[in-house]
Amino acid sequence: MGRQTVTEATQRFSFTRRSLLLSAAQLSVGGLLVGRAAWLAIAQNEKYSLLSESNRVQLTLIPPRRGWIIDRHGQPIAKNRADFRVDLIPDRVTSLDAVLKTLTEILDLSFDDVERIRSDFEKAAGFQPVQVADKLEWEKFAALNLRLPELPGVMPARGMSRDYPEGAAVAHLVGYVGAASADQYKESRDPLLITPGFKVGKDGLEKTMDLYMRGKPGARRSEVTARGKLVRDLAMKEDIAGKTLKLTVDAGLQAYAARRLGRESGSVVVFDCTNGDILTMASMPAYDPNSFTDGISHDEWDMLSLNDHLPLMNKSLQALYPPGSTVKPMATIAFQRHGISPQDTVFCNGGYRLGSRFFRCEGHHGAVDMPTAIMKSCNTYFYTMGHRIGYDKIAEVARELGLGQEFTLPFPSQRYGTVPDSEWKLRKFKKPWGQFDTLNASIGQGYVLTSPFQLAVMALRIATGKALMPRIIAGPQPHVAPLNIPPEHLAVVHDGMNRVVNAGGTATRSQINLNGITMAGKTGSAQVRGLSGGRGDMSTPWKYRDHALFVGFAPADNPRYAIAVVVDHGIAGARAAAPVAKDVLTYLFDPAKAMASLLALEKAWGGTIKERMERETTAYRAQKAVERGEAPPPPPAAEDLGAMAPSASSAPAATTAGPVPSMTAADPTTAITGTPPTSAPAETNGKVTP
């Protein structure tokens, strides 16, 4: 018992000691806790306060209102419209399928829309918003907002969307806008680029003048929860709207020219002769920049990119053609400069012999002087005179008049073609210039390549005799130097060009008769195949037919406007290009009269550009749906035939139209049956007598 008590006591003592030890350990841990807390809260307070603030406060950029694009009279070409939109933030989406299902239900998304969203979603870089829909009606927008809690990653917003009232007519002129690409963002790291609703210019003036029209974003500081829910706005800074871009273009004329091209593939460029203002630069067919702004579906893209009328190309600046006979007036300037009198005649008996080769003329013109040669487009005269002075001297004048030149213009790309000469050929082909090269080049064939825009500049400079520079952005009048061409030389050229239209020349069917106002010009037909293949007619497949060209100015006696028209595979300048030029120039002097003839034509073509495009898209979608097996093939005479008919009618006969891609596979019998009787006037070279 004694032993035990002693041991108990020892144990008690050891307990006291050990519990003291533990208490000491506990106190030191307590000290550690307080020390750690002090370290975090006092020593590192600044760092963590900052982190906490950046958690709490979110800076949201407000996309700036983009500057409008207006025409020379102040009429809007591109403007903004308030709308309701919905975006997806890929990072926050938990199940794309579930979200898309609900969104389809609320917003009535089409199959195409869903496909487009899916593919954008895959390409997007997580933080980049993917547009679901915009221009929503208020009811749908409100319905969506109600169901937001079950839709993670869906961001509804009120924003601005770009609106192009003239649609496809201005597509190649102004381009279009769209969300910035992932690459653009990676390059600049500008958070504005990934702000939902912010658009950058993707093509045309929208792209090149992007920063001018962009403006400065506004910002909103707001308190948000970790899940992105807005608690309250703290501060707000208004955006600064972008500057308005005023163009030299006449919006009405631009739209008219685009419409007047009808179902053709082609371009029209019109200049103001007083200062070089570009009044119109139309290239058709084109895409609708309004629908590009939303991001387009696969089908729509396929339809555009597979179309042989190249709706995605700005043909005015980027398509190159042999200018054909349109360069003949230009050549006569060179002839006169190098001593050939306008009265000198050449006898045309159907061609010109050079060694063993015979270069053909279109006719047997007999004795022709300079103005007559222009009027009748006599190849023999130009072969002879070209051969006499040599092409290098003609090339010099060609360049002075703008051919082969690149102009300082705010467009993403322009092709400047070729004005060949002996030095160029030696450099390019390591071969000396041949005399047959001169003959070919003298009539605008061979190596010569020009863009419709350059042809218009040529027309402008021949019309004015001044070295006018083209310009698209309105500004103060530039100083203009005269060209090195004596007025008497120019008078001969003007006389020839006047006779082309008004005195039994090649384009007499395209006279303007408005209170004494007349048009002067020169037709041209550019070969697509070698001469031996024939000039091409309606029996030739569309893509082998000759291009139709026309350059001109009006009024003939005192030029105010200059124009170039190119109609791809239009067979001959006189039949396809000159009538377009005539109507477009008529619009400048008498819009009502021009509109009347256009409306008659459009009736035959199947409506306005917009109506025709809508029908084509519908038909293409229907066809795609059949190919995918989602819809039964339509019966040959079913109701949707009506929709297909107008484009189908072009295939067999109409001169003013080429095949429409969605119809290439169409059964010709169907097409003929579907041709409405009203399409008959379309066969008369688009010429409508007022």
């Binding site: 108990e8 307990f15 533990l22 307590g30 307080v34 963590y48 306060s49 958690n55 709490r56 970790a226």
Partner: protein
């Protein structure tokens, strides 16, 4: 007894314990009120209700005689072991980890109760063991087995945090019981040496957790997110805090689990270092009360039970705070009486009931002396 306005039964309550306990619990409710955005629902009110109910229960437990605790020690331990087995069996049947038994009115979490039961049982074991046997083999293996069995079951659930608490509580009692010091030193060294071995036997995900603990910023969106956001809340709280109802980290839901495991960060953000120091002080007062009770106890059972419970309370809050401040890996241990939740609160209040019971016994013994 001093005559006064306050009646004797109330005056005689163990206020050195009750005052800090009530302070901690009420402070907790205030913080929960703020965590729910300035509302009594869903946390603050029910937590307060529960606290007062359990406090009443604790005061009743205080009336149980020390001798009864002694005789109930092993049966309680046994029953809870069986409950753990049942939970384990249910979990196996349901094919998931399950930690509680649904009794209809309360979801009973046996592992939580085991934290006290292990102290009770080990204290009782050494109480039974003759003093001379303390250096014997039985004094080592029997308690180790008694700790290992439930700890193993809890580990299987799997609940590393609670298992660690059970082991720590049991070992602490063994240490206080007077087992040779060299055993602990040797054991500690052996554990240290085993660490690299453990590292190589761990699964990748377990290693990841350790790595994330060492460098939370390396995983800002996973487990590291909890720690990072918690540190931001604490660090931005500063000395005085952002003020009641002004904690942006918790109100804007950046702080995860802001009402349970990370409630300390919620508190710190609004009350700052001042609030934290007050809270830690209160906890230390509670632990100090337990140690005082232990030192005044005339017998080994009372000493070991009271000090063991005191240490358990200490482990509770210190491990939680270390975790929240990035000093320990994230293991699910709530802040006692402060975090929202019934089980932990109940465990704590049973703890206090036992402490008060021993305190009474001590005082009674003192009167007899």
């Amino acid at each position: 007894m001093r005559p006064g306005i306050i009646p004797a039964p109330i005056l005689n309550l163990p206020w050195p314990l009750l005052l800090p306990v009530i302070f901690v619990a009420m402070f907790g409710c205030v913080v929960l009120y703020s965590a729910s955005g300035g509302h009594l629902q869903p946390w603050a009110f029910s937590q307060a209700m529960r606290f007062f109910i359990f406090l009443g229960m604790a005061l009743m437990l205080a009336n149980i005689r020390r001798e009864s605790w002694k005789s109930m020690a092993f049966p309680i331990y046994g029953v809870i072991c069986v409950l753990l087995l049942i939970v384990e069996a249910f979990g196996a049947v349901k094919g998931g980890s399950q930690r509680w038994i649904d009794l209809g009115i309360i979801r009973l979490q046996p592992s939580e109760l085991m934290k006290i039961a292990i102290i009770l049982a080990i204290a009782r074991l050494y109480d039974l063991l003759p003093a001379g046997e303390i250096r014997g083999w039985h004094a080592i293996w029997i308690p180790l087995a008694m700790i290992g069995f439930p700890a193993g079951l809890v580990l299987l659930q799997p609940d590393l945090g609670t298992a660690t608490m059970i082991i720590a509580g049991g070992l602490t009692v063994m240490f206080l019981a007077g087992l040779p010091l060299r055993l602990f030193i040797g054991g500690g060294l052996a554990a240290l040496a085993a660490l690299p071995v453990l590292w190589f036997t761990m699964h990748d995900y377990q290693r990841n957790r350790v790595l994330i603990f060492l460098d939370p910023e390396s995983d800002p969106l996973g487990t590291g997110y909890h720690i990072s956001q918690s540190k931001i809340a604490i660090g931005s709280g500063g000395f005085f805090g952002k003020g009641f109802l002004h904690g942006s980290q918790s109100h804007l839901e950046y702080l995860p689990e802001g009402h349970t495991d990370f409630v300390f960060a919620t508190m710190f953000e609004e009350w700052g270092l001042i609030g934290a120091t007050a809270l830690i002080t209160a906890y230390f007062l509670i632990v100090r009360y337990a140690m005082n009770v232990a030192n005044q106890a005339p017998d080994k059972f009372g000493r070991l039970l009271a000090s063991g419970l005191g240490c358990t309370i200490f482990y509770y809050f210190s491990v939680n705070m270390m975790m929240v401040m990035g000093l320990a890996p994230v293991v699910g241990i709530p802040l006692p009486m402060f975090s929202f939740g019934g089980s932990a609160l109940m465990t704590l209040m049973i703890c206090f009931g036992m402490l008060m019971s021993i305190d009474r016994a001590n005082k009674r013994a003192g009167q007899f002396l």
